[in-house]
């Protein structure tokens, strides 16, 4: 169980270092607890870079894309679980096939497409390729399949529209699955680096992750700033994890997948 110390140490080290003054950070031998805790690193960070803008960009892109993805995937999952229609089988297999077409493969053609329509350096470019995934539709379909048809049929007899059935019956019943998908997608979008680096070059549109990837060349050994940035970038995931710990952990166990 000593291993738990090793997995925790770097994270604790990051938090503690982010509140150490820069002199203490490069001191040898290193101190563990900060001798003079200070928030100066965070102040410096926000003063030297438009860090607030980066934080906003990251949050905006992540939240908007996650909300859309979860809703679209749930609606699509509903349709594939509970309806018969022309072309259903073939469309579903096309959707599932996209599970192997990961973004590392798509970035080049997507970049050329986005450039052709002059959408570089926009929120649309950051969001639009990530609104539906095969995995999301698959997960939602699996869950919605377990909902008894009787529930839906009686609502139809009562005169409810399918859209009403969707948000009044389906969505509440699959809320744990929605939570799981939302957390997975949040973390994935939040951490995404390759696509934003390619499609964004203006400082105004930069995400937190791009800014952090540039640290290594901009501030060679300013570990005070990099630890403050790493701390800020971790906080949203940490909050989400603490709030939805159960859903999160169950979701990983259930899906057995890593995005």
């Amino acid at each position: 169980m000593a291993g738990s110390f090793i997995t925790m140490l770097p994270l604790i080290w990051m938090f503690l270092s982010s509140i150490k003054p820069s002199k203490e950070i490069i001191q040898m031998p290193p101190t563990f607890l900060p001798a003079n805790p200070t928030f100066n690193n965070f102040k410096d960070l926000f003063n030297t870079l438009p860090f607030m803008q980066f934080l906003f960009n990251s949050l905006f892109v992540t939240i908007i894309s996650t909300v859309i993805l979860v809703l679209v995937a749930a609606l699509t999952g509903f349709v594939f679980a509970k309806f018969k229609f022309y072309g259903k089988k073939i469309i579903y297999s096309i959707i599932l096939t996209t599970m192997m077409i990961v973004d590392e493969i798509l970035v080049l053609p997507l970049y050329l497409m986005i450039t052709r329509v002059h959408l570089n350096n926009t929120y649309i470019a950051l969001i639009i390729p990530f609104l539906v995934t095969g995995f999301a539709v698959f997960l939602m379909r699996q869950f919605i399949s377990t909902i008894p048809n009787g529930l839906i049929e009686s609502a139809v007899i009562d005169g409810a529209s399918y859209l009403q059935i969707f948000y009044k019956i389906i969505l509440p019943l699959i809320s744990p699955a929605l939570g799981t998908l939302a957390i997975f997608n949040f973390i994935w979008m939040w951490n995404m680096l390759m696509w934003p680096v390619i499609v964004v070059d203006s400082e105004k549109m930069m995400t937190l992750q791009i800014a952090m990837s540039r640290f290594t060349s901009m501030y060679l050994t300013r570990y005070d700033l990099s630890m403050a940035a790493a701390t800020i970038a971790t906080i949203p995931i940490l909050i989400l994890y603490l709030a939805l710990q159960r859903t999160f952990v169950k979701g990983i166990a259930l899906t057995g997948i890593k995005q």
Partner: protein, 303 residues
């Protein structure tokens, strides 16, 4: 299972949902792959103008390209290192946590191992860059306490790939541990109790109870670890970027993987044709693993 088709009238609703989604998938997944195929058969000049249909030239260039093979080899070395460490370690940790009876203690350890998973990926790279710093880093400080001489982890071509692997293993173990843990919880307690009464030792209990019952989980995790290893990018991109040229994958290409090489060809050298060929090769490798994963997934779901 009966589907909703009570009404004999045609229902419009599924069409309104499914066909736009199909259109989206076609536009953002299928079309780009076809575009890749086209690019991989074309060549680009230095002004990044796509022209000249040059058939299989890009693939032929790649086959003769030493760097491509280096990237190929290193991708699989990284994958191999990760599989042989992550799979047994995460299982071992899951078994350890599973054996703790005290719920509070158990929760504490689960969260402890989960810490790296919830740390921002770019943040992880920055933390470890500092830990690996030859003169200011924690790693060398700890090594000096045990009397081992200083290492320059990311700057030494012999150990740079290994240093990257350590970070990604550290980051991912908690995730796979959770999957194993769920698998372990599904094994009925009475099997172990019976074995204990019969005086079966720990190793045999693992060999004849835990392992066979966890086999599907085991295989699934192996495949998922492989897929994610092939895709490793962020940590390499941040940690190995040259301060002079800004190119990732160094020093001397010692951490170059297929995805990094694809990125460099596409966005640093404007060699779209080569990049597209690499992307398609990566797609074929991933497709094979994904199909295996999907087979296992189905087994898992029924079970």
């Amino acid at each position: 299972m009966q589907k909703l088709h009570g009404h004999k009238r045609k229902v419009l609703f599924p069409y309104i949902v499914a066909y736009p989604v199909l259109f989206y998938i076609m536009l953002f997944f299928i079309l780009p792959v076809l575009y890749l195929l086209f690019l991989s058969l074309s060549s680009t000049d230095q002004f990044s103008k796509i022209s000249i249909f040059n058939e299989l030239d890009n693939y032929q260039i790649l086959l003769k390209d030493k760097l491509f093979w280096k990237a190929f080899k290193q991708t699989f070395i990284l994958t191999g290192i990760r599989v042989i460490t992550i799979v047994p370690l995460s299982l071992l940790i899951a078994m350890g946590i599973n054996s703790i009876k005290n719920t509070r203690l158990r929760n504490f350890y689960s969260i402890a191992y989960f810490c790296p998973v919830i740390t921002s990926t770019a943040g992880v790279a920055l933390i470890w860059m500092w830990i690996y710093d030859p003169s200011l880093g924690l790693a060398n400080y700890i090594l000096s306490l045990v009397g081992i001489q200083k290492q320059s982890f990311l700057l030494n071509t012999d150990i740079s790939l290994l240093s990257i692997a350590v970070v990604s293993i550290w980051k991912d173990i908690g995730w796979y541990m959770v999957i194993f843990f769920a698998g372990l919880q599904g094994i009925p307690e009475h099997l172990y109790e019976a074995a204990e009464i019969d005086g079966v030792n720990i190793w045999s209990r693992f060999r004849y109870i835990t392992f066979p019952l966890l086999a599907p989980t085991f295989l699934l995790i192996m495949v998922v670890v492989m897929i994610n290893s092939l895709r490793e990018f962020t940590s390499i991109f941040i940690m190995t970027r040259s301060t002079i040229s800004g190119e990732p994958g160094g020093p001397v290409n010692s951490t170059l993987t297929l995805s990094v090489y694809m990125f460099k060809n596409a966005f640093l050298y404007n060699k779209y044709g080569l990049a597209a060929a690499i992307a398609l090769i990566l797609l074929i490798i991933l497709a094979i693993f994904t199909i295996i994963q999907f087979r296992l997934y189905r087994v898992e779901w029924e079970y």
